[in-house]
Symmetry: C2
Subunit: 231 residues, 2 copies
Amino acid sequence: MRKNIELNIPEIGKDGFATTQEYVYERLKSAVMLGAIQPGTSLTMRGLAVELGLSPTPIRDALRRLSSESAVEILGNRRMIIPTMLSQRFEELVALRTTLEVHAARRAMPYISEVLINELIKIDDEMDRQIELQNHDHLTLLNQQFHRTLYTANPNQTVMPAINSVWLQLGPFQRQVIEKVEKYYIIDRHKEIIAALKIRDIEMLSSAVERDVFDGITHSGRELLKAQNAA
Amino acid sequence: MRKNIELNIPEIGKDGFATTQEYVYERLKSAVMLGAIQPGTSLTMRGLAVELGLSPTPIRDALRRLSSESAVEILGNRRMIIPTMLSQRFEELVALRTTLEVHAARRAMPYISEVLINELIKIDDEMDRQIELQNHDHLTLLNQQFHRTLYTANPNQTVMPAINSVWLQLGPFQRQVIEKVEKYYIIDRHKEIIAALKIRDIEMLSSAVERDVFDGITHSGRELLKAQNAA
DNA sequence: CACTCAATAATGTGATATCATTTTTAAAAT
DNA sequence: ATTTTAAAAATGATATCACATTATTGAGTG
């Protein structure tokens, strides 16, 4: 029997998307980002087509796009799965994420305005509220919104696609971390980032972003992987 | 009348590719990389399908993949073009390329072996031969092979897709630089990279890679853009 | 009970058809 | 000549179909 894939993602509604393919892409992307699809799950075009009530064509497009972004892995036998995390890959991903986000923040610095800082403060305030509610999905999205707002302050930035790809690759694992690590403290380094922006201190900004990435997933991710290896 | 797209790329032959889509992708990728398709050229699925004697389906897959990698731009009206280079985008791309390649080199350092160094020397020797022949296409490919060999020494690296994307975005412009800048010196920083690898000096490696990117395209690219703005 | 292997089902790929939208064209109007 | 505009052609998006390849199943065998 076919193993049904859980897509318990808030239905976004096909409206507002120019094409069906884009709708499927955004839906699957958020499912991967938020870890709604378990690593190891194999995806089939026809299966998803039935599940979403569409023809395989737009599904195929969306899956290809996701595989371009390393969000889904194409096996030799043409099967597609959400990759499982391994310790070495994890280390590479967080190192790359740090490099990319520090780069993006530094390149955004010249474009920081008071308006943008206020926008970031607003997002961060909303995050504080969601931390109390322990709403992890919403928190993940807000966290990404915070970082994306900062990095896209630079109107010519070319780094967001790479950052998105890394986020996608870490998404499913982060969900596992949140679920399985008991004491998952959300430490908010955004205050430091905002402080650095206010005084236009690029070195302080760099290290604040670096710490944000480290505290956000690196430490607890390593713990989970160590526990998995021991078992 | 339809403007025919020049695809004067050495026919690679459909053999050796698992799927037609992959063949089209590799063919178009090398065309973009080597600048065989002029920036501003608009690509149509049906046009390419006729040109390559295939159905639109695999063409579509390949184009979508290339657009995921920012090699082709999708306009609002669903048209696709090879993007033209602008000064600000160029600065972002070379800065990102530097960041990514320095990162990749540093993460590869622990995996460097004597065998790998010899492989790099072999590629570099071949480059020296091609420099004399002024064979720019072959040189570009060898240069990429040199860098890819270094970065993929790390078996867990996750940065190559991002580097490939940047290479693709700089490809068409680099061709223009080679063609239009009179004195296009190819300065070979690979000797420095190899020397740094031999003595396992990571800071020397970082700055050698940085200089290699700068000398390779940054300086002459800026000159061309300045000349274009003046005109 | 474990294993082999053939038949059956399911899958990804690529081609074709249809449709709404966009681009091109060329004739008409100024 | 230049602009307007309506008809024609071309295009991308999606659905459907055919086919070769791969996975699954289950009966037979040890």
